[in-house]
C-alpha cells in the first residue's frame, strides 16, 4: 500500500468512527424503545398511563382540572365527573354529566339532582345568562330558574338563538397517553415535529454510509495486509 493509500485509509477509518459514535446514540435509543414496544403488551405499557408531570412536560397537555369541589362540604365521590361551575346569586351550581349539585354560598350542599329530572338524558354543557341557567345536551336545551325549581325545555329556535360561547362543557374525551404511545413517539423521533422525517432520513443515511464505509475499510485493510 502507498503512503497516499494509507492516509486515505486512516482518514476513512477516523470518519467511520466519528459517524459510528453519532449513530450509536440513535441506535441505542432505537433498540431500547423498539425492545420495549415489542413487549408493550406483555409488560402493560399499552395500559399504563403516562404520569401527569411527564404528560405536561412532553406533550404540553394539562391534566383535566378536578378542583371544582375543593371547597364543597360532604360531596365526596360525587365530585367525580364535575366539569363546570356556575355562580348563582346565592351560591353556585356544579355541573356533572348526570347530576347537578346546588350549593349555598358556604359550600354546603343544598341539593343533588339527577339531570334526568330536568328532562335531560345527560348533561353536555351549562351556562348562565341573566337570571336563567341553560343546560343542554345534543338533543335539547333546558332553561331553569336559579333555584332549580322551575324548568322548561327550549324550542329549537330559542336554543339556537343562544350564543355558542360561554358554555361550560366537559373536557374532550381524550384517550389517556400511555407509555407505549410515548415510546412509539420516541422511537419515531416525533418529538422533533416536522424535522422528524428529515432526522430519520439523515440517520438512515448515516447507517448506510457506515455499512458501505465499513465494507470499504475492510476491503482496504485486507488489501493492505
Amino acid at each position: 500500500m502507498t503512503i497516499n493509500g494509507f492516509r486515505r485509509l486512516q482518514f476513512l477509518a477516523r470518519w467511520h468512527r466519528r459517524i459510528a459514535l453519532l449513530a450509536c446514540i440513535w441506535l441505542v435509543a432505537l433498540a431500547a424503545t423498539g425492545l420495549l414496544i415489542n413487549h408493550a403488551n406483555d409488560w402493560g405499557l399499552d395500559r399504563s398511563p403516562l404520569s401527569a408531570s411527564l404528560q405536561r412536560l412532553v406533550y404540553g397537555i394539562e391534566p383535566a382540572s378536578s378542583d371544582f369541589c375543593g371547597h364543597v362540604i360532604a360531596l365526596g365521590a360525587d365530585c367525580n365527573g364535575v366539569f363546570g361551575r356556575l355562580a348563582l346569586p346565592s351560591g353556585e351550581l356544579l355541573l356533572a354529566p348526570d347530576r347537578l349539585h346546588l350549593l349555598d354560598s358556604t359550600g354546603q350542599l343544598i341539593e343533588s339532582l339527577p339531570v334526568s329530572r330536568l328532562g335531560l338524558d345527560s348533561l353536555e354543557g351549562g351556562r348562565r345568562e341573566g337570571d336563567w341557567i341553560y343546560l343542554r345536551n345534543r338533543e335539547q336545551t333546558v332553561r331553569i330558574d336559579p333555584d332549580l325549581v322551575d324548568w322548561q325545555v327550549q324550542d329549537p329556535e330559542s336554543a339556537a338563538a343562544l350564543s355558542s360561547e360561554s358554555w361550560q362543557v366537559p373536557p374532550a374525551a381524550n384517550e389517556p397517553i400511555t407509555w407505549e404511545r410515548f415510546l412509539l413517539d420516541l422511537h419515531a423521533a416525533r418529538f422533533l415535529g416536522p424535522l422528524a422525517k428529515t432526522f430519520t432520513d439523515l440517520m438512515a443515511g448515516l447507517i448506510l454510509l457506515l455499512a458501505f464505509s465499513g465494507a470499504w475499510l475492510w476491503w482496504l485493510k485486507r488489501r493492505r495486509d
Binding site: A74, D104, Q108, I110, E111, S116, R117
Partner: protein
Amino acid sequence: METVYQSPADFLGEHLPGCKQEALWLDSDLKAEIEHLVERPWRGLRVRYCRQGHKTAWILDEIGKTEPITSGIVVSEGRVERVRVLIFRESRGAEVNRSAFTRQYENASLAEDYSLDRSIDGITGATLSVWALNRQVKLALLLDRAAQRSSDDD
C-alpha cells in the same frame, strides 16, 4: 344495567298533571327524622316535589343493594295514592316494579313510630329492593306531612 319503566316527567304528567314544582327545605329536626327513617346520613338541605292542591308527588332515590332505585310516589291527604318504580338499576330484585306489589302501598299512612300502618308482603329474592321501597314510601309520607305543615304555615 338501568331499566327505565317510566320517566319521572311522565310519571308526574300521568298522575299529577300540571302540578307545581316546589322545594321543601329541611330544618335540623326534619333532617334528623329523615335520617332516622332512612338509617343513613341525609345529604342536602331541601327536597323537591310536585304539588297539586293537597296532593304531592315525590321522586325519590334509595339504594337497594348497591344502586339507587328511583320511585315516584303520590301522596294525598297523608295517604299513599300511587307508587311506581320508575328506574331500576340493580341486577336483582326488579320484581318490586310489579303493580301487584306496589298496590300494597295504596292508602298506607305513616304511624308515629315511622312505620307503615299496614304490613307489606315481601318478595323472595328481592328483600333489599323491598326494604328500599318501604323506606321510600315512608319517606314520602314524612316529607308530605312536613310539606303540608309548611304550606299551612304560609
